[in-house]
Symmetry: C2
Subunit: 291 residues, 2 copies
Amino acid sequence: MAEAQRLDGRACAAALDAKTAERASALTASGVQPHLAVVIVGDDPASHVYVRSKVKACERLGLKSTHVERPASISQEDLEAIVDELNADASVHGILVQSPLPPHLDEGAITDRIHPAKDVDGFHPVNLGRLVQGRTDGLLPCTPSGVMEMLRWANVPLEGKRAVVLGRSRIVGMPMALLLAARGADATVTVVHSRSEDVAERCREADVIVAAVGRPDMVQAEWVKPGAAVVDVGINRVDDDTRERGWRLAGDVHPDVASVARWLSPVPGGVGPMTIATLMANTVRAAEGLN
Amino acid sequence: MAEAQRLDGRACAAALDAKTAERASALTASGVQPHLAVVIVGDDPASHVYVRSKVKACERLGLKSTHVERPASISQEDLEAIVDELNADASVHGILVQSPLPPHLDEGAITDRIHPAKDVDGFHPVNLGRLVQGRTDGLLPCTPSGVMEMLRWANVPLEGKRAVVLGRSRIVGMPMALLLAARGADATVTVVHSRSEDVAERCREADVIVAAVGRPDMVQAEWVKPGAAVVDVGINRVDDDTRERGWRLAGDVHPDVASVARWLSPVPGGVGPMTIATLMANTVRAAEGLN
């Protein structure tokens, strides 16, 4: 059987990055360099890796970045004061507070506090609510927006087609479903989650599957309709004795799906790069004052 | 074949109203009478009928209401000033601007201007966005919230079941899908719309159908799985020469569906009364300061 076409997130992100860099350069020439402020609390190594890659992406594309680091012991009040200051700073266009925060902090309250026009993560209720209203011209959540960009880039047909979103998180699943169902995308979207019956059957009915559940290799080859497009949002660490470091990254989709699907996004190198590329595009968008 | 059980919106609304009146009375006794301000622009007769029924519901349940009427010629600025004044008035707990507005006015800007804590219609992006975040404890859009109340009242099983929402409007379809998919309801939800392929087949797969498209008698008996629950949100005027007034009200669901479905909401007397009952409950909720 033919192997699925790889939905190459690195190539797609490079195409988006080229446009973002161009827009950033035009803005900078007009005297306004797009500027992302990244706030990180505590010393979670994975979070620091993510933040470093975001800061590097800014450098690469000509955006200014400010990196605010605070110890895990910071109070809610002090963290909110940082957000308030960045909200008030006209030279800052995008604000991102790296998740997860230490358990004593109220992450929802921080998300709600970032000014919606600077919310380049797209997690503020106002930005999510616009999605419910069918307005897709604002600051969209980076991962679902990156998935849409990848599907368009690969010319995956969506209009009238059946799409299944696996997972109903506020960050991926729910906004993903809204974007796929919105005018212009026009898919018939089903949200499948931990309480759903007959998950495998629901998947088999789909022309497009977006898996965002955080369960390694969950989507099996038998779950996929031949010719479907499968997008793997999962990034799971699984034990692997054959690797020197003792683990490998696995998506939510079993690698065997490549023999059934027509399109498949790899992990790593699929959705991951698109998330950062969308964050950069959102920051430039915020600097352009479109939101 | 047995006839479907009638999802009696009047009886369900009466049960909700009884609770709302009790809460309103407790608040009034403590010195805070729940207070709804209804703004109506122009002289559309249907809108005036709706507004009168809302004002009457307030009287019946012990809520205070203020009825603001303005001519169709009002400017955006003046209408916004009314909203600002009601936002600032601590004695007003709920604000509703009756839709539709005359075409020269920007309805979206008015919706966005109402303070989210007074947005008893549940249309503000912040309130819709909370739904995307899975938070269903805020001010929910009246019609979808009323449908959920009716399904719970009739003990229609939802967990893990397949629900199809026909229509993707910001007021009904999209929030309806989010509520059905949310934790606690836990249905597997599919949004079907004008660009969907095989609409009849999608409906036939569903254990629960919520029709909100505004096309009279669209959902046929052959579209419905025997034993399904069918909720009809449509209120359409269709010509009828046998009636003295020359028209009758028709839902989006054909009456023959009653011979196939296990539950069916009538039009009128189904979702309509639930929408107003939910508006009243939202106003009391806003007065209780829960939002």
